[in-house]
């Protein structure tokens, strides 16, 4: 094999091994360790100077205690379930908001489309943190939304929205909306208009042509968009901690607090491993879906 090629392969390969795969091994190892009052705060630590016997002793001290702990304390169960529920519900909401926008874009006059595209992409380049922060001022009790609703007379008392799950839903829909719009727009834009004409010629009304032709053909985009919203929403940390309240349980937030506030590294690592297991199924499904799409396009 030519040495230059080997060199070219080795650099990114070793980089990813050292900074992506090995760290996961470490997380897994620490999740099997015990919490201790030490620096670093877990036991056992691997001491290579003791040789093979030391390594065996090290292995024998690892156990699944932290995972048992996760199943026994219902905080973690509740956090996993409520993360799932929040992620599913906000994905559906994002789809309901995003589809009409993507549809409108795909049917807009040709000369508008580059501008509309740019208007969808622009928020994506803007800081995520700022976009979440913008809603804190809107949703608070004396916030813009309440002032507006009080002024119109729709409500008589200010609503409590900030620090509830509703605010978390709004935050997720708002920040992940471009991820939903773009793949759906991409499939709708390629949709052959003559299929719709054919459906109408064959006696479909415009509405039923939409349901029978447009919706089924947009499925690949809808599926891609849903995965792109669901996967990051499940492990979300910023949105629940800024917009959610003390009652908002999401696993990303639990992991953060376990690590930074409780300084319990082994439990935080175990929470991370379980979150990863929870995500592996949707990630593999998404990969399969993308591969199928690519094959279909070729």
């Amino acid at each position: 094999m030519n040495p230059r090629r080997t060199f070219l392969i080795l650099i990114p390969y070793l980089w990813l091994l050292a900074l992506f795969l090995v760290p996961f091994g470490i997380v897994f190892k620490i999740s099997l360790s015990d919490t201790a009052l030490a620096i670093p705060p877990y036991l056992p630590t691997l001491d290579l100077s003791t040789g093979w016997a030391g390594f065996r002793e090290f292995l024998s001290e690892l156990d699944f205690e932290n995972y048992v702990w996760l199943t026994e304390d219902d905080l973690y169960w509740k956090a996993y379930l409520s993360s799932l529920q929040i992620a599913v519900f906000s994905t559906v909401l994002t789809l309901l908001v995003g589809f009409p926008i993507a549809y409108g874009m795909a049917n807009a006059p040709d000369q508008w489309r580059p501008t509309l595209m740019m208007l969808v992409i622009l928020p994506f380049w803007t800081s995520f943190l700022i976009r979440v922060y913008a809603w804190m001022g809107i949703l608070s009790t004396e916030g813009f939304l309440n002032q507006f609703l009080l002024w119109t007379g729709i409500i008589a008392e200010p609503l409590t929205i900030l620090n509830t799950n509703t605010a978390v839903y709004i935050g997720i829909v708002y920040t992940y909306l471009p991820f939903m719009i773009l793949p759906i727009y991409a499939t709708l834009e390629k949709l052959d208009a003559s299929l719709l004409e054919a459906a109408e010629d064959l006696g479909c009304s415009r509405t039923s042509a939409f349901w029978l032709v447009t919706i089924p053909l947009s499925r690949p985009g809808v599926i891609a968009g849903c995965f792109l919203v669901f996967i990051p929403a499940l492990g979300e940390f910023v949105i629940p901690s800024l917009l959610g309240g003390s009652g908002t349980l999401m696993i990303g937030k639990v992991l953060w607090e376990e690590f930074f506030s409780n300084r319990d590294w082994p439990v935080a690592s175990a929470v991370a491993v379980v979150l990863l297991l929870l995500l592996i199924v949707p990630i593999i499904l998404f990969q399969k879906h993308q591969e199928k799409q690519q094959e279909a396009e070729q």
């Binding site: 392969i9 900074l19 995520f128 700022i130 001022g137 910023v238 995500l279």
Partner: protein
Amino acid sequence: MRRITWFNAVSLTLGFAFLYIPMLILIIFSFNSSKLVTVWAGFSTKWYGELIRNEAFLDAAWVTLKVAVLSSTAATVLGTMAAYVMVRGGRFFGRTLFSGMIYAPLVMPEVITGLSLLLLFISIGLDRGVLTIVLAHATFSMCYVSVVVSSRLVSFDRSVEEAALDLGCTPFEAFRLVTLPIILPAVISGWLLAFTLSLDDLVIASFTAGPSSTTLPIKIFSSVRLGVSPEINALSTIMIAIVTVGVIATSLLSKQAIARQQREEREAAQA
């Protein structure tokens, strides 16, 4: 023939209103003279003045910029190499693992990436600071760069590369003189993407930063946790302005570049 129906007009108007009104409100209230962010008390630019005098924010901005430039440059080099290996590398030992490691960080929750990198840095005894954030950011953004660059590598005509090799170029010269100029727009957008990802990142930076290397998102997050403040609104407005100018400028430039390329191709075809 596409026509704009009332349904499309309504959904586009409401959709873009939803996307933009929160940011507009944020910008408007950065010019509010009252300390209360939600009550309008008259126009003032005093929060911008306060912001410029706030050393902590300036330091954090400097750290963030340094991290972003270094990490996105490293990510661009590594990501371009990774893309080249994936598209042109042929078969090699562990190729499946390699492609898995390139795609996995794209979907990995940030809390897990951050935690795992922190535990790595601690176990090898690397002190947390600018270097550790740069390493962390370069790792996850190289994957984004490689996706962007490989889509360009897949779509271009390989025969020009082969022609260069036939005409006596070494593989490296062929890459530098033929491949690189063709994929350059993708490499540049990869760099920009990596740069913005790094500027934006809160979670991974929080895990990998040390006490002396607070980045702007970490600083914003810790002050925002206590509630809204007009200074943060002013800072957000500046950041939104920079991004808007940047995105519009790059899209105009790339439009010009595409037009020039098409003209050159037409002229070459006529000649």
